[in-house]
């Protein structure tokens, strides 16, 4: 009797733990991706920031992408890398940036495949579920982050 109760209690407790982790939902579709990019682009233009903006699905594959005029060449790939990291790890790349900046054990992040540890990548959420990732690169990392946030907020 007690064993049954304990087993049931453990099952509920572990369920509660899973409940705190975001769930993957359906992949972001093209219309939603374009909406996010448009909002991000507006933020970038408002500040005169030349950036590349990428939106990927939950598997890390491109759905939509734009490079604003005069964006530095390297940012083409970095924007995609940030989006992939945010989608695949279900957390902003800033979280990894902070962990790496802390040095010591935080450096283990740099061994993770698909991870990017530069701010500018955010998970895209709709209806409380993860639908993909948005990545921005071209100016300072915190500025990239502001552009990405404008994009992510457009879908929330």
């Amino acid at each position: 009797m007690f064993r049954t109760f304990l087993a049931a209690w453990l099952a509920v407790a572990s369920l509660a733990a899973f409940g705190q982790v975001p769930q993957y939902g359906a992949n972001v579709d093209l219309e939603q991706a374009k909406k996010a990019i448009a909002a991000a682009q507006a933020e970038a233009r408002k500040n005169g920031w030349p950036v590349a903006i990428a939106v990927v699905d939950n598997a890390g594959f491109l759905v939509a992408y734009e490079r604003l005029d005069n964006t530095q060449t390297a940012s083409v790939q970095v924007a995609i890398d940030k989006a992939v990291s945010a989608a695949m790890y279900r957390r902003s790349t800033k979280v990894f940036q902070d962990a790496v900046a802390g040095a010591g054990g935080g450096m283990r992040i740099t061994s993770l495949r698909y991870a990017s540890w530069v701010e500018g990548g955010l998970t895209l959420m709709m209806g409380g579920k993860v639908v993909g990732g948005i990545g921005v690169s071209g100016v300072n990392a915190d500025q990239d982050g502001m552009v990405a946030k404008a994009g992510a907020d457009a879908l929330r």
Binding site: F61, Y65, L68, T73
Partner: protein, 135 residues
């Protein structure tokens, strides 16, 4: 000193709109990539229903056309004509669907499409380029 034309984001949007229109006109679902002549992504969209593979392939077809300044289909023809060694050319995807954008004799980028039959992919890419160059 030489000067050269350059693709802007507005140019890419014009290409993409025309390419998508061509796709929709035929009820085709594709991924469309636009790269500059250095092989770097400028613009990309994947229509709902196009696969992750289409996304990757469209980019590679465009890169092939941009870097080699010829259609990716021309590489497919070379292989078909018997030069199987062309399968080993670095950075070349010898599959039809990538078309270079040439302005005043200068290649300034390329469009790559994947999702339907290769000759149809190329038609979509060409429709996008024609709209930009007003042909």
């Amino acid at each position: 000193m030489k000067t050269r034309p350059e693709l802007t984001l507005a140019d890419c949007e014009q290409i993409a709109i025309a390419a998508v229109a061509e796709a929709r006109r035929n009820q085709w679902v594709v991924a469309i990539a636009i790269l500059d002549d250095g092989g770097h992504l400028l613009h990309f969209l994947r229509m709902d229903g196009a696969t992750p593979a289409n996304a990757a392939i469209a980019v590679e077809k465009a890169r092939t056309a941009a870097m080699s300044r010829r259609t990716s289909g021309s590489w497919e023809e070379r292989v078909k004509a018997g030069r199987t060694v062309m399968l080993k050319m670095p950075g070349i995807l010898p599959v039809q669907g990538g078309v270079p954008i040439v302005v005043d004799g200068t290649c300034i980028g390329a469009v790559g499409v994947s999702g339907v039959q290769s000759h149809e992919d190329e038609r979509i890419a060409q429709a996008g380029i024609d709209a930009l160059l007003k042909r």
